[in-house]
């Protein structure tokens, strides 16, 4: 271990891998933001003000920072949902529908049942989650039983769930006094209490971040989580090892759907006074971005969600203060997905670095032959 005393120890390959994943993500984000700046320059009369509002706006006040957290909360739920489903290599997009139906069911529980405080929101959250799980299970079952591609069936299912939800809202839950399609006011007993006054930073926001740890333990420390990741990495090998592939796929879809449904429930109970979604809220697809940014790792999901929440709040502030539409954000998001998903993006730099570290290691080993030969091995 002589060479280690000279300066910092050489990084192991795994450290290089982690470091480069981080750098890649940051570079991707940088490129996407640069592209966004160019677009703003093209369309805006006061591009600089717009860009400043976009990037600095969310951090200007405590209230805005709280709004970032509040915006990130549903993204955490859907990011977790997508992470679990994608970890199993299932491109199930029904998180969108699951989140929608979760919100609907939770608000139905809120307005139709009268229960004591604490019990009421918990039941609403759980039933919202169950409804979401049912939705996400459908593409999973179709895949396992019949081999129907989950991606198309789940995208179609989202539309069906939406129209079914709007039907239920319009025929069973509507409050004619509201003046627009919405349920009655959610009773106080069912609402998730707000933690920071004058914002929507509520109990559900905290719950979202707590769930990240829970999902991490599920995915990385439990037997079933191991099975899910194994099926995701190599289905044939998993089957050969005696893992029940169908059951594992289904449990991942159920867990993902439950998380998404609960996210919808938490969003409605915490940030709305009535349920009023008559279009898909889009959080399900945002989950794909969050999961991509986080590399399907539940512990990194909050970071991805907070970043996306920050961009979203920024875009919102920008559209209020300037002539740039919020939708510019979707271009940023798409670029980030494309770059982060590109396996060869910055790959050559990483290879060069790994080679140079390996060469250094070799020359050190040559210079110090008395050092144990395993030294290099352990580093690899």
């Amino acid at each position: 271990m002589k060479h280690r005393t000279k300066d910092r120890p050489l990084p192991t390959n795994r450290q290089i891998e982690t470091r480069f994943t981080l750098i890649r993500t940051l570079v991707a984000v940088g490129i996407a933001l640069a592209g966004c700046l160019i677009l703003i320059l093209v369309v805006s009369e006061e591009p600089w003000d717009a860009f400043v509002a976009f990037l600095i706006g969310p951090l200007e006040s405590g209230k805005n920072i709280a709004t970032v957290f509040e915006t990130a909360a549903p993204l955490v739920y859907s990011g977790l949902a997508v992470s679990v489903m994608f970890s199993c290599n299932q491109f199930n997009m029904a998180g969108e529908g699951a989140l929608y139906i979760g919100g609907l069911v939770a608000s139905a529980v809120a307005v139709k049942l009268s229960l004591p405080i604490v019990v009421h929101p918990i039941l609403a959250l759980l039933l919202g989650g169950v409804a979401g799980a049912v939705v996400c299970a459908v593409p999973g079952i179709l895949k396992i039983k019949l081999g129907a591609t989950e991606i198309v069936s789940s995208l179609m299912l989202n539309y069906i769930v939406l129209y079914l939800g709007v039907y239920i809202l319009n025929y069973f839950l509507i409050d004619p006094a509201a003046g627009f399609p919405a349920t009655e006011r959610l009773p106080e007993s069912a609402q998730l209490p707000t933690l920071i006054p004058r914002t929507h930073f509520h109990v559900g926001t905290i719950l979202a971040f707590v769930l990240c740890a829970v999902v991490y333990l599920y995915l990385y420390k439990s037997k079933q989580g191991y099975a899910i990741r194994m099926v995701g990495q190599n289905e044939k090998f998993a089957r050969y090892s005696g893992i029940g592939v169908g059951g594992t796929i289904l449990s991942a879809q159920l867990a993902g759907g439950f998380l998404a449904g609960m996210g919808g429930a938490s969003e409605v109970l915490g940030s709305y006074t009535r349920f009023q979604w008559v279009a898909l809220p889009g959080y399900g697809f945002d989950g794909v971005i969050v999961a991509t940014l986080a590399g399907n790792n539940p512990l990194l999901v909050p970071l991805g969600a907070l970043f996306l929440g920050y961009l979203r709040v920024g875009a919102d502030i920008m559209s209020r203060r300037s002539d740039v539409a919020t939708e510019v954000l979707s271009i940023v998001q798409g670029t980030i997905i494309l770059l982060v998903a590109s396996k060869l993006f910055l790959q050559h730099i990483k290879h060069k670095y790994i080679v140079s570290v390996a060469e250094k290691r070799e020359s050190l080993a040559a210079a110090a032959p008395e050092a144990a030969p395993e030294g290099g091995e352990a580093n690899a």
């Binding site: 491109f91 129907a148 198309v152 039907y167 539409a325 939708e327 510019v328 670029t335």
Partner: protein, 316 residues
């Protein structure tokens, strides 16, 4: 109910089914070409949406339908090129690439629309040109058939021509053979000197071109303006239609026709007292049912083949 039946067995219904088949058919043919090269093009939805917008913009600003069409076509090719670059060159997952493109399209079209028209939902402030409808001589005069087949939009006829062309291209032409061999077994194709990546590039570009016409039909044929998210999942329905079509252009046509009928049904069910939400659901339910049916049939066939093989092996 008899009212609905009467409307289904009417000339208008068949006519509108053909009309509503057009966008799905274009995209499904695009999906077919990509799929035969072994690439799943999820980005069809985004390509259609972008082309629908640029077609309108191009024709409104140039005053020429041809320029508008060119704009839409080039947009489709361009997006397909980006997808091809990221998925083939940079090795990004093709599904994620498509999802990213669709995300960019949903927001990006609104962003462009707002920057140009100051409106976030429709482009009615621009006067877009529209592909003409065509009366076919002779056929026009045949009683029932004439009403069904004549008087369609130019693009509807073009989509039918495209079915034949794509069929011929895939089954009878040399590049088509290359596409099929790459899709069948990329390694084998590579071993006989076929440039797999180049073939896939070509297939994706062709797929983008076909889908772009589907998009333009929506904004410059069916309607006369672009409206936010006007594809409404047709790009995804097209993927299902292609799967149902079992890999052939003719099959894809019939599968698309089924979805066209489902959509026409959804239109003619309006105003019969059913909740509108169920009516709107029809095309999507039909798609899932179609997928399930196809998957079930295929599974059944596989089982039969396996049984047959086993029996053959058993009796020497």
């Amino acid at each position: 109910m008899p009212e609905v039946l009467r409307s289904i067995f009417s000339v208008d219904f068949v006519y509108s089914a053909l009309r509503l088949t057009t966008p799905v058919l274009f995209a499904a043919l695009g999906s077919l070409v990509a799929d035969r090269a072994g690439v799943t093009n999820i980005g069809l939805e985004g390509i259609m949406l972008f082309s629908a917008l640029t077609g309108v913009l191009g024709s409104a600003y140039s005053g020429s339908l041809f320029v508008g069409m060119l704009c839409g076509l080039v947009t489709g090719l361009f997006i397909a090129l980006i997808m091809a670059y990221f998925s083939l060159q940079m090795k990004a997952d093709i599904i994620l690439t498509g999802v990213a493109m669709n995300l960019v399209a949903t927001g990006g079209t609104v962003f462009i629309l707002y920057s140009i028209c100051g409106d976030k939902s429709v482009s009615t402030s621009l006067s877009s040109l529209v592909f003409p409808t065509i009366e076919i001589p002779l056929i026009r005069d045949i009683p029932v058939l004439g009403d069904i087949l004549s008087g369609h939009n130019l693009l509807t006829y073009l989509s039918l021509v495209a079915v034949v062309v794509v069929w011929f291209f895939l089954e009878k032409s040399k590049p088509g053979l290359r596409i099929r061999s790459v899709g069948e077994n990329a390694h084998a194709a590579e071993s006989v000197g076929i440039h797999v990546r180049r073939v896939r590039y070509g297939a994706l570009l062709l797929s983008g071109a076909l889908a772009s016409f589907g998009g333009m039909f929506l904004s410059m044929g069916m309607l006369t303006y672009f409206s936010k998210n006007m594809t409404a999942g047709r790009g995804y329905i097209a993927l299902a239609a292609q799967a149902l079509g079992n890999g052939s252009a003719i099959g894809t046509f019939f599968a698309s026709l089924v979805f066209g009928c489902a959509e026409a049904l959804s239109v003619s069910l309006q105003g019969v007292g059913l909740p509108p939400q169920f009516v709107q659901m029809v095309p999507y339910v039909a798609t899932i049912l179609g997928l399930v049916l196809y998957a079930a049939l295929r599974k059944n066939t596989k089982k039969r083949v396996r049984k047959h093989k086993r029996r053959k092996r058993g009796s020497p």
